[in-house]
């Protein structure tokens, strides 16, 4: 019996265009991926949370990782890079360069790393919204 060949399904409306644009925009600027998709309240809450966490970390004299001397530095730098343009802005402006001397400053360093990791989660969420995996 003849069978009809499987044709690829036509792309859905949600799959047209630059699928990775919200992901990249969300990584570079916290909340931007959601803004591009018209999710204004979610984007604003994400942007405020991530930027505030980064700013509070710096205000607590947290350190931006600038070198990858050992494994912990590599992991810290990977987390910091999750902040996107905030990280590069901080590096260019010379923020977070003082050595960590207090417990609160160590907490601040962790705030900056976690802000970067949360930003990656937010960017992936924007990508899922873009592809229709999440509503």
């Amino acid at each position: 019996m003849a069978t009809t060949p499987n044709k690829p399904a036509p792309p859905k409306a949600s799959e047209k265009g630059l699928v990775y644009f919200p992901l990249i925009a969300g990584w570079l600027v916290p909340g931007a991926g959601h803004f591009l998709l018209g999710k204004w309240i979610r984007g604003t809450l994400l942007a405020v949370s991530i930027i505030a966490m980064f700013a509070v970390g710096l205000a607590m004299q947290g350190q931006l990782h600038t070198s990858a001397q050992d494994l912990l530095d590599v992991l810290g730098m990977a987390g910091d890079l999750g902040n996107g343009l905030l990280y590069f802005l901080g590096r260019a402006a010379g923020w977070g360069t003082q050595p960590v001397q207090t417990t609160v400053a160590d907490y601040g360093t962790k705030f900056i790393v976690v802000a970067g990791l949360l930003n990656i989660i937010a960017a992936v969420d924007a990508h899922n919204l873009r592809t229709g995996r999440k509503s």
């Binding site: 979610r42 994400l46 949370s49 966490m53 205000a59 607590m60 609160v104 907490y107 705030f111 937010a122």
Partner: protein, 59 residues
């Protein structure tokens, strides 16, 4: 320079992280709010519990 107390740092950390978790892990606003509040309570509650545990161990 900001030097918050350790507990205020915990509250800020829990607030920001819970907000992102709530928005990204659930689909509808009521579920987002509930999950965010749940994460916040777990963050702060676990800190209080483990702080008491460490206090009792150190005695």
């Amino acid at each position: 320079m900001t030097h918050p107390s350790h507990f205020l740092a915990v509250l800020l950390f829990a607030l920001f992280a819970s907000t992102v978790f709530g928005i990204t892990m659930r689909d509808t606003p009521p579920k987002m709010f509930r999950y965010g509040a749940y994460c916040f309570v777990l963050f702060v509650g676990s800190v209080i519990v483990f702080s008491w545990v460490m206090f009792l161990i150190a005695r």
